[in-house]
C-alpha cells in the first residue's frame, strides 16, 4: 500500500521521505524485522507510526537514518537516496537532512546545551562562524536561556528542549522521533509532543514519530500502523 499525506507537495519540493520495498532482517533467512512496501511523507507533514514492542518501529527509523543496511529497498530523504550514499557521504546526508529525537534524549554528556546543538550544526557542515548564533537562537526559541550549563546539570524538561533544538537546528527535511514521550507522565508527554510538533512546523521539517502510546493518536492527522505498511 502507499500512504500519502495531506501535506502540500509541489513538483519542486521532493517528499521528505519516500520508502519503496524496504526489507530488513537481523539474521539472513529469518522473518523480516522491517517490511515496508511503500511509505511517503510530504515536506512538512507529520505522521505517527504505531506498533507494539518488537514490531520494528525503531529499526525502521535506523534504516531511514542509514544506520543499518537494508536487505533490499530504497529510501529517499528529501529526494536523496540514503543507501546510494556510502560511508562519510551517508553520514553527511544524515547530518544535513535528518534530525533525531530519542526517549532518553541521548545528549552528549560533558557538553553544554549550546555545545550539544552546535555539534549538530558542525556535522551538518554549517560554517564555524554561524554555529554559535544559530544554536543560541534555536535554544532561545524553545525558551532556554541558561545555555552554557552542562546538560547533565539540567532538569529533564530542559534536556528535552535541548534535544529538540538539536534535532531541528539544521532545518532538516525530516525529524525522526523514537518514542519521545515513553518515559514521561501524561501531562509532560503532552507538553513534550507539543514542543516537538511546533518546532518541526516552525522549521518546515516533516516529522515521523513512532510510539506505542495510544494517547498520541489524537495529535496526528496522519497515522499508520507499522503492520499496515507491509506487502502481503
Amino acid at each position: 500500500m502507499r500512504a500519502y499525506s495531506h501535506g502540500v507537495t509541489t513538483p519542486s519540493t521532493p517528499p521528505a521521505l519516500e520508502i519503496t520495498d524496504l526489507k530488513f532482517s537481523y539474521q539472513p533467512g529469518q522473518a523480516w524485522t522491517v517490511n515496508v512496501s511503500s511509505l511517503t511523507i510530504a515536506a512538512g507533514e507529520q505522521m505517527l507510526l504505531t506498533g507494539g514492542s518488537g514490531s520494528g518501529k525503531s529499526t525502521l527509523l535506523q534504516l531511514i537514518a542509514g544506520l543499518l543496511e537494508p536487505t533490499r529497498g530504497r529510501v529517499l530523504v528529501a529526494g536523496e537516496s540514503v543507501f546510494d550514499a556510502a560511508g562519510a557521504s551517508r553520514d553527511k546526508l544524515r547530518g544535513r537532512r535528518l534530525g533525531m529525537i530519542f526517549q532518553t534524549f541521548n545528549l552528549l554528556q560533558g557538553f553544554t546545551a549550546l555545545e550539544n546543538v552546535m555539534a549538530s550544526l558542525a556535522f551538518a557542515g554549517t560554517p564555524p562562524k554561524d554555529q554559535r548564533p544559530r544554536a543560541a537562537e534555536a535554544l532561545a526559541s524553545l525558551g532556554l536561556s541558561d545555555i552554557n550549563r552542562p546538560v547533565e546539570a539540567m532538569s529533564v524538561g530542559q534536556q528535552q528542549r535541548v534535544a529538540v533544538a538539536r534535532a531541528v537546528v539544521t532545518n532538516p527535511a525530516l525529524v525522526l522521533a523514537d518514542e519521545p514521550t515513553a518515559s514521561l507522565d501524561p501531562e509532560n508527554a503532552a507538553a513534550a509532543m507539543t514542543l516537538i510538533q511546533q518546532s518541526c512546523k516552525a522549521r518546515g521539517a516533516a516529522l515521523l514519530c513512532v510510539s506505542h502510546d495510544p494517547a498520541m493518536a489524537d495529535r496526528f492527522a496522519l497515522r499508520r500502523s507499522i503492520s499496515s505498511l507491509a506487502d502481503h
Partner: protein, 449 residues
C-alpha cells in the same frame, strides 16, 4: 568557539575527567622519571668534568687514583696520608719547573693543596697563590674574583662563591676554622682568618670551598702538635680564660716553629709544559710513569678516572633508563586500559555523534587524538616536573655528595621524548579507536537500564 574536533575531544575528556587526569598523571610521572634520569646522567658527567680544568695529573697518597681525584678536586673526603713538602718540591722541579720555557712552550705548574680543615662543614683548602693564577677550574676559564683579591698574607682567606653565600661571610669578615669536619673537629679559636676575596661561580666543587695559604694551615697544625707534645700550658703568666672557659691568648707560634713534620700537603695539581694552543703534551706519559715509580704515591689522570667512574656508573644508568622506559610503556598501557575501561560510556557518545552525522573515520580519529592529547598533557607536565626535580636533586647532590651538578634538559632529547610519548599514547589509543569505529549505533542509543 566553533564546534571543532578539539572541542569535542576536550568535552569528552571533561566527561571522564578523573580517569583522564589519573592517566595523564601516570604518563607525566613516567616522563619526568625518564627525563630526570637522562638529565642527571649528562649533568653528573658534566659535573665531574668541571673542576679538574687544566690539570693533567693529580698526585696524592690515597688508596686509589680515583680517590685522589675525588678528594683533591671534588673535596669529597679528607686524605689521610700526607705528602711532605720536600717531596712536593721534587715533583715540581722534575715535572713542572718554574724556569723560563723555550719559545712556543707553555710552562706547566704544580699547585700543592692541603685538606683537613673546615668551616661550617665547608672544606678549607690550604694552597698557594698559584692556585688562582695558574690552575683553571674549567679549562680556559681561570678563577675570577667577584670581590676582593687573593690572599697575600697568613690567615687571610678567599671564599668560593657558594661558600660565601652559604656562610654569609663578606670581604673583611673574620672566622675561625675547624680542624677536621663534623663531630670530630675542634675549632682553632687561636687564629682568626680574615676574608680578603670572594670568587665568582665556576660551577665546580671549588665554589663551596674556602681557600687559605699553606703557612696558615701549617701554623694551626703546628700549634696542635706543640700542645700534644707539651700539653696546653694554662699556668703561664698572663694566661686568661673567657666566661665560657675559652683561652684568651693570641698565637703562641710563628713560622720559625714550623718543622718538616708540619709542612705537609695532601695533593698536587700538576700540569706538564705543553706547546702553545695544546692541552696535552707528549711528556705526559713519561711523567705519569715516572711519578708512579714511587709506589707510595697515587697518580690520577682526571679524564681517565672520570671515564673509569662513568664506565661503572654507566651500567647503572642503563638499568635505570631501561626501568624508566618500562614505566613509560606501562603508562601507555594505562592509557589503553583507561580508554578501554571507559568504552561503555564512550559507545553511547560515539553512537550520538554518528546520529548527528559524524563519520566512522572521524570517530576513529577523535579517539586516537584523545589518546595523543593525554600523551601531550602527560609529557608537558612530565617535562615541568623534570624541570622542578632537576634543581631539587642538584641541591641534594650538593648537600649529600658535595657534587655540583647543573641539570639541563637538552632540547633535542626533550623534544624526542615528547614526540615518542605522543606516538606511544596514540598507539595505545589504537585499540579503543578501532572499537569506537566499530561501535554499532543502534544498540547504543537504547535507554540505559
Amino acid at each position: 568557539m566553533a564546534m571543532t574536533d578539539f572541542v569535542i575531544i576536550t568535552r569528552s575528556m571533561r566527561a571522564r575527567r578523573f580517569s583522564t587526569l589519573l592517566t595523564a598523571l601516570s604518563v607525566s610521572v613516567a616522563v619526568a622519571l625518564l627525563l630526570t634520569l637522562l638529565m642527571m646522567k649528562d649533568a653528573g658527567r658534566a659535573a665531574f668534568e668541571r673542576g679538574s680544568g687544566n690539570v693533567h695529573m693529580i698526585v696524592g697518597r690515597d688508596g686509589t687514583p680515583l680517590q685522589s681525584l675525588l678528594n683533591s678536586v671534588y673535596y669529597a673526603g679528607i686524605p689521610r696520608n700526607p705528602i711532605r713538602w720536600a717531596e712536593f718540591e721534587k715533583i715540581r722541579d722534575a715535572h713542572a719547573p718554574e724556569v723560563p720555557m723555550p719559545p712556543g712552550i707553555q710552562p706547566g705548574f704544580a699547585v700543592p693543596i692541603q685538606l683537613g680543615d673546615s668551616f661550617q662543614g665547608l672544606p678549607v683548602v690550604a694552597t698557594t697563590e698559584a692556585f688562582f693564577t695558574r690552575f683553571e677550574p674549567v679549562a680556559g676559564r681561570p678563577f675570577e674574583f667577584a670581590a676582593g683579591e687573593k690572599f697575600k698574607e697568613n690567615f687571610q682567606a678567599v671564599l668560593g662563591s657558594r661558600a660565601a653565600r652559604d656562610t654569609g661571610l663578606r670581604v673583611g669578615d673574620k672566622f675561625n676554622v675547624t680542624h677536621g669536619s663534623g663531630m670530630n673537629g675542634h675549632v682553632h679559636d687561636e687564629f682568626e682568618f680574615t676574608v680578603v676575596g670572594v670568587l665568582k661561580d665556576t660551577g665546580s666543587a671549588h665554589d663551596r670551598a674556602i681557600f687559605t695559604n699553606l703557612t696558615s694551615s701549617w701554623l694551626l697544625h703546628a700549634l696542635d702538635r706543640l700542645e700534644r707534645e707539651h700539653g696546653h700550658d694554662h699556668g703561664h703568666e698572663g694566661h686568661e680564660h673567657g666566661p665560657d672557659g675559652e683561652c684568651l691568648h693570641g698565637p703562641e707560634i710563628s713560622e720559625a716553629d714550623l718543622t718538616d713534620a708540619d709542612r705537609l700537603i695532601t695533593g698536587v695539581l700538576l700540569r706538564t709544559p705543553t706547546r702553545e694552543g695544546r692541552d696535552a703534551s707528549a711528556a705526559m706519559a713519561t711523567v705519569f710513569t715516572a711519578l708512579r715509580s714511587d709506589t707510595s704515591l697515587t697518580v690520577a689522570q682526571p679524564s681517565q678516572e672520570i671515564n673509569r667512574l662513568f664506565a661503572i656508573v654507566g651500567a647503572v644508568d642503563k638499568i635505570l633508563i631501561a626501568m624508566a622506559s618500562v614505566v613509560l610503556a606501562g603508562s601507555a598501557v594505562s592509557i589503553l586500559l583507561a580508554m578501554y575501561g571507559s568504552m561503555d560510556l564512550r559507545r553511547r557518545q560515539v553512537a550520538i555523534l554518528r546520529v548527528l552525522g559524524c563519520s566512522k573515520g572521524r570517530i576513529f580519529s577523535l579517539v586516537l587524538t584523545e589518546a595523543a592529547i593525554i600523551g601531550v598533557i602527560g609529557s608537558v607536565v612530565g617535562i615541568v616536573l623534570a624541570f622542578a626535580a632537576g634543581p631539587l636533586i642538584a641541591l641534594v647532590m650538593r648537600r649529600q655528595l658535595g657534587l655540583f651538578i647543573d641539570p639541563v634538559l637538552p632540547p633535542d632529547l626533550t623534544l624526542l621524548t615528547m614526540v615518542g610519548v605522543i606516538v606511544l599514547a596514540a598507539l595505545a589509543g589504537l585499540l579503543p579507536a578501532v572499537m569506537a569505529y566499530r561501535t554499532p549505533v543502534a544498540n547504543n542509543l537504547k535507554p540505559l537500564g
